[in-house]
């Protein structure tokens, strides 16, 4: 089938590419664009490991077709911070022992960075509701919530 030409922004950089129409955004980002932080945990939108920001809203990229990003803004965890300047949530995750096996972490940090940015006054219950689309099997989540709250406080 015909490839589709898409122009979009990936982690702040303009990008134009020819994508397979049947490719998921998750597969495109991971296999083609080199943003391997985008993890596949279930491929059906339940685990949240592939969460990215699409026009500043968290989405599970396994449920988005690559051609759908035309003209839009995509941010993965690579776009949120670097070793020298980590994002406050990334830094707080390290300081609060919120990382274990790490596989859910990029998606979790994308979601929680969004929460920090957009819902900084969220109650504990609201934080839990907003992060419930990111499954973590190792940590039990509590250190991650602590980390988020520390990052919000700054």
């Amino acid at each position: 089938m015909r490839k589709v030409r898409v122009s979009f922004t990936l982690n702040g950089l303009k990008k134009t590419d020819e994508v397979e129409p049947n490719q998921t955004l998750c597969d495109y980002l991971h296999d083609v664009a080199g943003t391997t932080s985008v993890k596949k945990g279930c491929d059906t939108g339940e685990c949240g490991a592939c969460t990215v920001l699409l026009d500043d809203m968290p989405v599970t990229s396994c449920l988005v077709l690559a051609p759908q990003v035309e003209g839009r803004d995509v941010v993965t965890v690579e776009g949120l911070g670097t070793k020298l300047v980590p994002n406050p949530v990334q830094q707080a995750f390290v300081e609060h022992d919120a990382v274990q096996c790490g596989y859910c972490i990029p998606g979790m940090i994308v979601t929680l960075s969004w929460v920090r940015e957009h819902v900084p006054r969220a109650s504990d219950a609201e934080i839990k509701r907003l992060m419930s689309g990111n499954l973590c099997r190792c940590t039990g989540y509590l250190q991650q919530i602590e980390a988020l709250k520390a990052a919000i406080k700054g």
């Binding site: 059906t44 685990c47 990029p106 839990k128 973590c136 039990g140 250190q143």
Partner: protein, 760 residues
């Protein structure tokens, strides 16, 4: 609702996890993150039948699918097709028959995953269906379909102490019950994956795994003499929980077989549903249990029989059963014990290792029955436990006299106090449709491989520039064990943790330290590393003593320097000291080996381990008696694991274990119908989300032990072990009657309430 840090840290983590920042930045490369331009994709043709003979495998159509490079069947295996952790009963690729839905029959190797998938659909397997058996009780009956040539019995184990018959007769009353536990799926977020690279006379495999040396052994079996050298590199691994104890043996062997046949790199990665269908799960078990109690609240005897469904292949069933049988009496002084356990083959998905390894099941039956007995006595369950609990010097129900630290009583006393147990038991469940309950459960965890000899070797070396490098085959898959090793080494050598690194396990580089299982890494690996580091310190001390002119015994290592104790005048920096050692041509590489000899075990009693860890958990629930929904509103977990090496990581292990246990208690149950798993994906196999985990209060009871490094014990598993039982007892307290089967899903709890109401 956050993890509360109750006390000032004893040794607060100064070192963040070695890999935390890299993981938070998204830089960590798991197996499938490695792009290999010319890699082939492997997919597995799986059996749709629970039990069938394979008449013929016709791959001719599949071979013609564009992009398909090769189809591999059992015939293509150069070595032995049979691998298995304890019993070699599982074919890598089935050739004569299949034994469960999902059994591996052939590999399709193709240029793209699309082609491989199309190829899978075109492999025609002619099956002759056989009668199948799914119930472990049925499987043992005469005339049941025979799954393996030797029949359907996988293993039996037993415990005998005193005279249980007599103990039950002498009791003032006996409580009896049948308790059942569900199949739990590990549900690690990273599914199984392996990437194999063929070399001229060797095979290199990178994969997600717990035990590279076990994988190496399995792969050598499969490839045989065809490939003289196999090298296994553990990639960063996205969770294991026991599920990656033996499954990677097969996943890596399949990738290696594909790479060997095609002479090209080959990637095998499972989808979520394949992962659920393939790797061994937590055994469902049925306990028929009776316990005799005297009117003064002493347990006189426990008699129990345990039946475990091991599924189609043995995996670790025999070992899991041993642990369930030997912990089934609970952590109590019981003079008369009679436990029989059986694990059988069925045509269900195989069961095997999962964090807790038989103890979550045993604990559920034992601890629920404790509360039932307490109710008969009219005694508070905490009080009843205290009258029977194991202490230092007690004889365990396996006949072993406990000589190491036993902090169980302190765990109970503190969990009781911190959870406001007494007040909440007095308050009672309340009057409305939502009832409150509070429940307690204990666990006992023998250190290391249970009832087996155990040993670990590790090495520590110092480079010319003063970097300290630790090499061990023990793997990091989220527990934080490598960070723990850094703590140990930096403490022994008095260096900053930044100097110390741990090499990613690679069978060509690191020594075999035994498997990364059974909460053994801190104790066995940690002690081996400690021993190696101490040898290095001895060498450094000798040189330092000459440089500083004081005897080696008084050399103190701290703050990246060596100095003489009691003297402030001279000190030598670590790097300078190391340079001096190198000038003197000293070898700064040492190995340490720590051995636990084969414990005495005979005729149903003996020793399990020189050392045990303990925990007491208290769960507080609110039960909606109209919908059956159970909400855990508060949780307290008190643990005694010797000395704590890193308080933060210790708490993280407990909280993570409790969360997994809450899933087991409340919602996790793999449902099979005629051998087909009905809830393979996260849509219907529910694990806890953040919204399901309550406040968890952790209590650390330190009781240093002379067995592990600095008196430390393991902590990986104990966190999950008593959870289902604690929740079960809380539900019991809320409702006034026990539910002897879990998970406590809304419908199951509602059914129990309804049934109770219709009976009375």
């Amino acid at each position: 609702m956050t993890a509360q840090k109750l006390e000032e840290p004893i040794r607060r983590l100064e070192v963040p996890r070695l890999d935390a920042l890299e993981k938070a930045l998204g830089e960590t490369k798991y197996t499938t993150d490695n792009v290999e331009e010319d890699a082939l994709y492997v997919r597995v043709v799986r059996s749709p039948h629970p039990h069938a003979l394979i008449r013929r495998i016709d791959s001719s159509r599949a071979e013609r699918v564009p992009g398909v490079v090769r189809i591999a069947t059992a015939r293509d295996i150069p070595g032995s097709n049979y691998i298995g952790y304890v019993v070699q009963d599982r074919p890598l690729l089935c050739h004569d028959k299949v034994r469960f839905v999902g059994d591996s029959v052939a590999l399709v190797i193709a240029d793209t995953s699309e082609s491989a998938e199309l190829g899978v659909q075109e492999v025609k397997v002619d099956y002759e269906e056989l009668p199948a058996v799914f119930d472990p009780g049925e499987a043992l009956k005469p005339g049941a379909p025979k799954i393996h040539p030797g029949g359907n019995l996988t293993a039996r184990h037993f415990v005998r102490l005193g005279d249980a018959e007599e103990g039950l007769v002498r009791a003032d009353f006996v409580v009896r019950g049948t308790y059942s536990t569900p199949i739990q799926e590990q549900a690690y977020l990273e599914t199984e994956a392996a990437l194999a690279y063929p070399k001229s006379d060797s095979m290199v495999v990178l994969g997600s795994m717990q035990n590279p040396f076990m994988v190496k052994k399995a792969m050598a079996t499969v490839l045989g003499r065809a490939v003289p050298n196999v090298r296994i590199i553990q990639a960063p691994t996205g969770g294991g929980f026991g599920g990656k104890q033996d499954a990677p043996d097969e996943v890596c062997s399949m990738a290696a077989l594909a790479a060997w046949l095609t002479k090209r790199p080959a990637l095998l990665a499972f989808s979520r549903e394949e992962s659920a269908a393939f790797h061994p799960k937590r055994h469902p078990m049925i306990f028929d249990r009776e316990m005799g109690v005297s009117s003064d609240g002493k347990i006189t005897a426990v008699r129990a029989s345990i039946l475990a469904d091991g599924g189609a292949y043995a995996s670790l069933s025999e070992r899991v059963l041993f642990v369930a049988v030997t912990t089934a009496a609970g952590p109590y002084e019981i003079p008369n014990v009679h436990i029989d356990g059986t694990t059988v083959y069925t045509n269900n998905v195989p069961m095997g290792a999962f964090r807790g390894f038989g103890k979550p099941q045993a604990s559920f039956a034992a601890e629920l029955q404790m509360d039932e007995a307490a109710e008969r006595l009219g005694m508070d369950p905490a009080e009843f436990r205290l009258r029977n609990i194991l202490k230092a010097g007690s004889t365990a129900p396996t006949g072993q006299v406990l000589t190491s630290s036993v902090g169980l009583e302190e765990c109970l006393v503190r969990a009781r106090a911190d959870s406001a147990w007494d007040a909440k038991r007095r308050t009672g469940p309340g009057q409305g449709e939502k009832k409150r309950g509070i429940g307690m459960a204990c666990t006992i965890h023998p250190e290391g491989l249970n009832g087996e000899a155990d040993a670990a070797t590790a090495s520590v070396e110092i480079t010319a520039v003063g970097q300290v490098v630790v090499k061990t085959g023990l793997t990091e898959y989220g527990q934080g064990i490598h960070t723990g090793f850094v703590h140990i080494v930096s403490k022994v050598l008095g260096t900053s943790p930044d100097r110390v690194s741990v090499v990613m396990p690679d069978t060509d580089v690191v020594p075999d330290s035994g498997p990364t299982v059974a909460s053994r890494s801190t104790v066995f690996g940690g002690k081996a590393i400690l021993l190696a580091a101490e040898k290095l310190r001895g060498k450094l001390a000798k040189v330092a003593s000459e440089m500083l002119s004081c005897p080696p015994e008084v050399i103190v290592f701290e703050g990246d320097t060596a100095r003489c104790q009691g003297r402030d005048d001279g000190r030598v920096g670590f790097e300078e000291l190391v340079s001096e050692c190198f000038r003197r041509k000293l070898n700064l590489k040492e190995e340490g080996t720590f051995v636990k000899p084969l414990p005495f075990w005979e005729a149903g009693h003996g020793d399990l381990s020189p050392s045990y860890t303990f925990a007491v958990h208290v769960a507080e629930v609110e039960v909606d008696t109209e919908t059956g929904k159970v909400e855990v509103v508060n949780y307290t977990a008190a643990h005694e694991s010797g000395t704590v090496i890193s308080r933060d990581q210790f708490e993280s292990q407990i909280i993570g274990g409790v969360a997994q246990g809450l899933g087991y208690a409340l919602m996790e149950e793999l449902i099979l119908k005629d051998g087909i798993i009905r809830n393979k994906t996260f849509l219907d196999y529910h694990i806890p989300t953040a919204a399901d985990v309550p406040h968890i209060r952790t209590i650390i009871v330190e009781a240093p032990d002379d067995f592990g490094p600095f008196g430390a014990k393991g902590v990986g598993e104990a966190g999950i072990e008593p959870v289902a039982a604690a929740v079960g007892n809380a539900v019991y307290n809320a409702l006034g009657f026990p539910i002897r089967r879990f998970p406590f899903t809304p419908e199951r709890v509602y059914e129990a309430i309804e049934e109770r109401a219709s009976r009375s």
